[in-house]
């Protein structure tokens, strides 16, 4: 049987910081660029959504007068952890109970543009928004000096290229959270996945399906290295090989995969990569075996690519996890949807999510709408087809952690339908 192929192209240059030189810049530039970019978009939308309402700045506000403001939201949060807490005068004797996230009923939103800040009230629920989102707000200034919001204008889904019609089944497999080296990692389970993809398992039927897999995307957290080896303290000579052990193991497994089909590997928050977004590709020296194949590609996080003109965009999950800490939604897919309608992959960067201090661009702005938007390292598998107002169609996928669930996700390029591949090594099920 012959494996199917698909044309592959990446748009990852925007996430590479190779060329950037750090020159002591701060974070104000990235906010400025973001606001500037989004303002042009939002200004264009105002006439159709709120005709006859003037657009102004925070400075130009006049009490009681209807207007539209465009600015960056800032959410003032009572429970937001601060680095200053390390220095607080009284060490609390009883450890605080940590809530699942940092929301508090007294959180409030502030809108900021270059000219100033104004506190928001009215029809804008603080729970749904986070710091860093750029929106247009329709409302008026009250006598108390607040801005009473009547209506929130978000940019909405970006324009999308036409979904190419593919008339045969081609599959892409997504897997995340392999966590090789962690206590929950099960080598057999991973081997089953590899054998399934490479066609060494199952009957002819299953092998036929396997032969239609054109690419595997590993979305972050592939290894787990005990933090005690990396805290800067000297590591005893006998422990030194331990650091590299999980990576070697992963390399062996990956080599089996890349021998038969292309694999994209993205870094995640536990991987040996830099911390702040965009995370740079895992270094080739880590994969002495797999990197010898030209089917192996080490990609940044976020990762953006095309397969047969189907546009993919995804992250290893940090952007959505951070939204979950600072805002509320019914499920992870809703968070994903919001990042698309805000046209920003990671609005909380740099505020609560680490981010490179760019000076002249904001790489996380979503300028064109992907057909598939995936996020790795989530608690469970979820998927939905999102329909945009201009006929955009986006497949949202929340990829679960493989080491916890044994689930990988398989997407059909032909119709963007999703199925799960579930592997279990226990006999009772």
């Amino acid at each position: 049987m012959e494996r199917k192929q698909a044309d592959y192209g990446t748009q990852d240059e925007r996430y590479m910081i190779q060329g950037e030189r750090y020159q002591g810049q701060q974070y104000s530039h990235i906010y400025f660029t973001r606001l500037h970019h989004m303002r042009t978009l939002l200004h264009a939308l105002v006439p159709s959504r709120n005709p006859n309402v003037p657009v102004t700045t925070v400075l130009g506000l006049e009490e009681g007068k209807d207007c539209v403001l465009v600015g960056t939201l800032f959410k003032h949060m009572k429970l937001k952890p601060s680095i200053l807490d390390e220095y607080s005068k009284e060490r609390s004797v009883v450890p605080l109970v940590k809530p699942h996230n940092f929301m508090h009923p007294e959180d409030n939103l502030i809108l900021e543009d270059e000219s100033g800040r104004v506190a928001l009230a009215g029809a804008i629920p603080p729970a749904a928004y986070v710091t860093g989102v750029v929106v247009a707000l329709h409302g008026k200034e009250t006598s108390a000096g607040n801005f009473l919001v009547e209506d929130v204008l978000e940019a909405g889904l970006p324009p999308q290229t036409l979904l190419p019609s593919i008339n045969e089944d081609k599959y892409v497999v997504f897997v995340s959270g392999l966590s090789v080296g962690s206590s929950t990692f099960n080598p057999l389970q991973f081997q089953l996945l590899i054998d399934h993809i490479t066609g060494h398992l199952g009957d002819e039927n299953e092998q036929t399906v396997a032969s239609k897999i054109v690419r595997v995307v590993v979305a972050g957290n592939s290894v787990h290295i005990a933090p005690r080896y990396l805290n800067g303290q000297t590591v005893a000579a006998k422990d030194q090989p331990r650091i590299a052990e999980p990576i070697k193991e992963l390399d062996i497994m990956l080599t089996q995969l890349v021998a038969s089909l292309p694999v994209d590997i993205m870094p995640g928050c536990n991987d040996p990569a830099n911390f702040s977004l965009p995370q740079q590709p895992l270094h080739r020296c880590l994969f002495s075996g797999a990197s010898t194949y030209n089917t192996f590609s080490s990609c940044p996080n976020p990762h953006e690519f095309e397969l047969d003109n189907v546009k993919f965009l995804g992250t290893s999950g940090q952007n959505i996890d951070d939204l979950y800490k600072y805002s509320d939604a019914k499920d992870r897919l809703e968070f994903m949807e919001r990042t698309l309608t805000w046209r920003h992959l990671a609005p909380t960067a740099p505020n609560s999510l680490g981010c490179y201090p760019y000076t002249d661009k904001d790489p996380f702005l979503v300028e064109s709408c992907p057909h598939v938007y995936f996020v790795g390292n989530q608690d469970r598998y979820e998927s939905r087809l999102l329909q945009g107002s201009e006929k955009q169609q986006v497949r949202l996928i929340s990829i679960p952690r493989f080491c916890d669930t044994g689930i990988a996700v398989m997407l059909n390029l032909r119709n963007l339908e999703c199925t799960t591949l579930s592997f279990s090594t226990s006999f009772d099920s």
């Binding site: 701060q26 400075l59 830099n274 911390f275 020296c285």
Partner: protein
């Protein structure tokens, strides 16, 4: 007990404010007032009245003084929004309604006596002015007539009515001689024979003859006193000098005492008893004239315990300093003034305003006023003060900086009409240097700005008075009390912002506004208005005294009030104490140092010194001098003989005044506390809580008053008796506890007193649970209380468990008041707050104590110390933890000994004069590695410079001079070989020192790439690892990248935090607050970030 006084010649500095003389030099009436002398008063005299004459000549001129308001209508309409509510019509026209108001400030002025109210008198007289606010928020100036200054002398025996009138004539002549320049027609108004008694010493007879001498003007009291003290010659009686009584009381206070007025209480002028002023002298809405006898003073109870809606103005100014200089009014313009006006009791200011020089972009919710010239700003500010009419002016360091700066600046610019900021029409504000000297608060130089009718409340002064903090910068104070960091813009940047455009000036305005808002928030948070008004009410002094004067005036005020009721008079004994007398202080039982793992019960004497004074009737008027004991032939059973050998009569013969004052204070405190429990309304609770606190402080300061050898009325017999009783009681308690709680008496264990201090005794009963210890503690307290005279009471308060007793006055322990859960960790005398230590010490000590006491994990604490020391030696400690900060109070030449921070300031000035610290700044520094034998002061360096140039710090300095002592103190009671274990173990072997990047020998060194794995020199230019380490590539890469990722995480956290403090996302962070704990870390993160990227790039091959 007595230092302080030696330095100074007579008159000695009292604990009360020395030299806080309120008024400028007296000027003869009619002559225009000269500008205030800038220099300090040559000789400091505490408690001195100065007569200010109403100067009517410039009244007209003032009317003509151009109000900016008249010129600028727009400004006028904007300012008019801030006016006080309009007076109701019936008050505007008639006098048919009684007027009640809460008074805030009382002073006096010399004017013509009121012809209508006092038809019989004429000529100049002292007129009391009371400023206050009505319930509706109207400002009132009440001029009280008819009250005359007086004092007493004891009447020489055998003086008849004729002698008295002769005496009066002689006195009048002498007065005229010594006040030649004065053209007052009459000096001595009357001399009258009265029956009084002196407060000093027990006297069986009920009264003696005294002469009450009434003079025309308040200052004449002092000059008359001088004449009488030097002695006058009278026919038939010969030359005689007199001891004067109550001759050192400020006129305003005398008036308050005689009219039963206490600071901050409500006064009422009944309908029909007042006249509307014929000629308006003040800017108050209501100006009344009345007789002092018609004034009704209400006790602060019920309706009258409330607060009137005072207007509080909080302001801050910004000046454009020149590079390298602290702003000086002679050169540097005032560029912005931010103002916030708040009504007392309301959460938010109702006006926010900022005045700027040159245009400024608008700010949401803020009234921005821009002016073209500095003259206009200053005048607009004056008009704002006049229109808004604030009762209290607050700010941070306004008394020493902002207010004097504005006034001096106006003088430099020759704006003569500027300093009309008080409430009196023609009165210009005067500035003078003063020294505030108090044993309790230390010596502090300040400036005294007279703003008639407006109370100034400088939060900086209040902080320095009431709290011991490591730094008093507004930034660290607000971090401490409000839990937020304040952005700090260096004064060299301020000029740049000002010289930018309207946007940069807006940036500065936002900063300025925040500086004006923080004092207001501090005032609210710390309930200062409530606490100070209550303190004024309890002690009876005007509110303005509380900040500008020491403790003794408060006690004196109470003593005078009480003495008046008892018909006693107080001699003016000032200057008699030599300042050298000492007596034995409180006792401290020897501490049995150790780490106690059984509960330690603490028995406390409740209000020890006050209760001793009450129990043993210790007072001026119950003291029997040794020579009197036999003379008076008093029965021994009605006398107390104190352990220090003094004799006092018992209550039956004569009840002491001090005990009576104390009883009232403590009873009032009990009431206030009971009311506090009942009270629901938060404002009422605030008042009551302020009151009980004021009562407690007042009760405790009575003892100090008697012991202040250079004070108003020292009486060492009392204070030494108090401490001797205290000592005796502590010993007695120890003995009783150890005798009673023994196995012989049926108790499980023998009790042991391990430590005792002034008013508390720590007992180990030997039981192992908190509950049992509490039971025994209570039993012991009740049992021992029985053996003391009432109201002395031993109370059981708390358990320490576990308890680490280091030495006298140094201990730490967990504090329990109920058996279930401990309340807190209590430490005393341990380096957790010392200001001259670096943060590392504080963190280390706090963490160790926490591990020892809360976690009970001794090995854990030891490990923690070792890790920290290892981190220090391995150069892994965050630099900000190593910064030591000291204030630069004078320049290098003025310091006798070379000091690290002074030398550093000098060096920094050579590098860059613009940002170098100047006098008044705090200088942060770290100790760096230097050549062998370098002096300590040569090893100090600017932390930023250290960061930028990778200069190695000296870990051994920190180990030996900073952390070793405090650590050993804690661990010595616990570990056997603390020093060897902690400071010399294997963890101290590895040392890493960073290489300086730009200095000395390094310029000659050739840099070579080394293998990242083993540091072997690599030959090729593009290699990362040597051939041996090639196999470890993955591992070594992981380590490098983990390091980078930690740095990135830190970078993100630090810089977003600063954005948050600054309150803006779209603008760069400007803050250079060196008080902020993350300032250096932020800088370091910035540098590390750049370096880490270079490191990582080496892997790209």
């Amino acid at each position: 007990m007595s230092s302080g006084g030696k330095r100074r010649a007579a008159p000695p500095a009292a604990p009360s404010a020395a030299g806080a003389a309120k008024r400028a030099h007296p000027t003869p009436p009619g002559a225009p007032q000269p500008p205030p002398p800038a220099a300090a008063a040559a000789e400091e005299e505490d408690m001195m009245d100065e007569d200010v004459f109403l100067d009517e000549t410039i009244l007209e001129e003032d009317e003509a003084a151009l109000l900016l308001l008249d010129r600028d209508e727009a400004l006028a309409s904007r300012l008019s929004r801030w006016k006080r509510p309009a007076l109701p019509a019936d008050l505007v026209s008639g006098c048919s309604r009684s007027v009640a108001f809460q008074q805030l400030d009382i002073d006096y002025v010399i004017g013509e006596s009121h012809k209508e109210l006092l038809p019989k008198s004429s000529g100049p007289a002292a007129i009391i002015r009371i400023f206050g606010v009505t319930r509706e928020g109207h400002s009132v100036c009440c001029q009280v007539h008819g009250f005359e200054p007086y004092f007493y002398i004891s009447c020489p025996s055998g003086m008849g009515p004729d002698d008295i009138s002769r005496f009066k004539q002689i006195l009048e002549v002498r007065m005229k001689e010594s006040n030649r320049s004065s053209n007052v027609p009459k000096f001595v108004k009357s001399v009258e024979l009265v029956q009084k008694q002196t407060i000093m010493h027990y006297q069986p007879q009920k009264s003696q003859s005294f002469l009450k001498i009434v003079v025309t003007l308040p200052t004449m009291v002092a000059s008359c006193r001088g004449i009488l003290e030097r002695g006058i010659t009278m026919e038939g009686l010969g030359s005689k000098s007199f001891l004067t009584y109550e001759s050192n009381i400020l006129f305003a206070l005398r008036f308050m005492i005689d009219c039963n007025i206490v600071g901050g209480n409500w006064l009422e002028v009944p309908a029909g008893k007042y006249r509307k002023a014929a000629r308006i002298m003040s800017y108050c809405q209501l100006e009344l004239d009345c007789l002092y006898s018609d004034l009704v003073s209400h006790a602060a109870e019920g309706e009258y315990s409330k607060m009137a809606p005072f207007r509080i103005l909080s302001f801050d100014i910004e000046c454009a300093g020149r590079k390298g200089h602290f702003p000086e009014p002679t050169h540097d313009p005032v560029i912005q003034i931010a103002n916030l006006l708040t009504l007392q009791g309301e959460a938010q200011p109702f006006v926010r305003n900022v005045m700027t020089l040159k245009s400024c972009s608008p700010i949401v919710g803020v009234d921005v006023m821009s002016f073209d010239t500095e003259r206009d700003i200053l005048l607009a500010w004056r008009d704002l003060i006049r229109e808004a009419d604030p009762d209290i002016i607050i700010g941070y360091n306004i008394c020493k900086f902002d207010l004097p700066y504005l006034i001096e600046r106006a003088e430099v610019l020759k704006i003569v009409e500027f300093p009309l900021l008080g409430r009196i029409r023609n009165s210009r504000v005067r500035v003078r240097d003063t020294t505030f000297n108090s044993r309790q608060y230390g010596t502090r130089e300040s400036k005294d700005v007279t703003l008639e009718g407006r109370v100034q409340f400088d939060l900086l002064q209040a902080m320095q008075r009431d709290y011991k903090l490591s730094s008093y910068s507004l930034n660290s104070v607000s971090a401490h009390f409000l839990g937020e960091q304040k952005e700090d813009v260096h004064h060299s940047i301020i000029s740049d912002l000002q010289n930018g455009n309207s946007e940069t000036r807006r940036r500065l305005a936002v900063y300025c506004l925040k500086d004006a808002y923080l004092p207001q928030r501090l005032l609210d948070k710390l309930m200062y208005i409530y606490n100070y008004v209550e303190m004024a009410r309890v002690t009876g002094v005007p509110i303005s005294f509380l900040l500008s004067r020491g403790q003794s005036i408060k006690v004196l005020s109470q003593l005078l009030r009480k003495a008046k009721q008892r018909n006693l008079v107080i001699p003016n004994m000032k200057g008699q104490g030599s300042g050298q007398d000492t007596f034995e202080g409180a006792t401290v039982l020897e501490a049995r140092a150790g780490y106690y793992e059984k509960p330690i019960a603490t028995l406390d004497f409740a209000s020890l010194y006050p209760s001793i004074m009450m129990a043993h009737n210790l007072c001026y008027c119950t003291l029997v001098p040794p020579e009197d004991v036999r003379k008076l032939n008093l029965p021994p059973e009605s006398l107390y003989k104190t352990p220090s050998g003094e004799i006092f009569v018992k209550q039956e013969l004569q009840k002491g005044i001090l005990p009576e004052i104390l009883e009232e204070l403590l009873a009032a405190r009990k009431r206030a506390k009971a009311d506090l429990k009942e009270a629901k309304d938060p404002f009422e609770r605030a008042v009551l809580d302020g009151r009980q606190l004021a009562l407690k402080i007042s009760a405790n300061s009575v003892y100090g008053f008697t012991g202040a050898t250079v004070g108003q009325l020292p009486c060492l017999e009392i204070s030494s008796s108090v401490t001797s009783y205290g000592r005796q009681m502590i010993e007695h308690t120890k003995k009783l506890v150890e005798d009673k709680f023994t196995t012989l008496n049926g108790y499980e264990h023998n009790a042991e007193v391990i430590y005792g201090d002034t008013d508390s005794v720590m007992v180990q009963f030997g039981v192992s649970t908190v509950e049992d210890a509490m039971k025994l503690g209570r039993e012991a307290a009740d049992f021992i209380s029985e053996t003391f005279i009432k109201p002395i009471k031993l109370e059981f308060e708390k358990i320490y468990f576990p308890y680490l007793l280091i030495s006298k006055k140094r201990y730490a322990g967990l504090y329990w008041t109920n058996p279930e859960k401990f309340d807190k960790m209590d430490t005393k005398g341990i380096e957790t707050v010392r200001r001259d230590n670096c943060l590392l010490v504080k963190n280390l000590v706090t963490e160790c104590l926490h591990k020892l006491l809360v976690d009970r994990d001794i090995p854990g604490a030891v490990q923690y110390v070792k890790n920290t020391i290892s981190d220090l030696l391995m150069n892994r400690v965050d630099l900000s933890l190593l910064v030591i900060t000291k204030g630069l109070t004078k320049t290098g030449e003025d310091y006798a000994v070379k000091a690290a921070h002074v030398e550093l300031a000098e060096r920094m000035r050579k590098r860059d004069a613009a940002t170098a610290p100047t006098v008044g700044d705090r200088v942060p520094y770290v100790i760096i590695k230097a050549a062998k034998g370098a002096k300590a002061y040569e090893k100090s360096e600017d932390p930023i410079y250290v960061l930028d140039n990778n200069i190695p710090i000296d870990p051994h300095y920190y180990l030996e001079n900073q952390i070793s002592k405090p650590l050993l103190r804690i661990f010595e009671p616990i570990l056997k070989n603390a020093s060897r274990e902690l400071l010399h173990g294997s963890h101290t072997r590895a040392v890493s020192i960073s290489t300086p990047s730009n200095s000395g020998i390094m310029k000659f060194a050739k840099k070579q790439l080394t293998c990242l794995g083993c540091k072997a020199v690599i030959s090729g230019p593009n290699q990362t690892l040597c051939s041996h380490c090639k196999g470890r590539e993955a591992e070594l890469y992981c380590k490098t990248v983990a390091n980078v990722s930690d740095l990135e995480m830190l970078f993100g956290k630090l810089w977003t935090q600063c954005q948050e403090c600054q309150g803006s996302l779209h603008q760069d962070v400007l803050c250079t607050s060196r008080d902020c704990p993350i300032f250096y870390r932020r800088r370091k993160a910035q540098k590390d970030m750049a370096e880490a990227r270079v490191q990582l790039d080496r892997w790209d091959f």
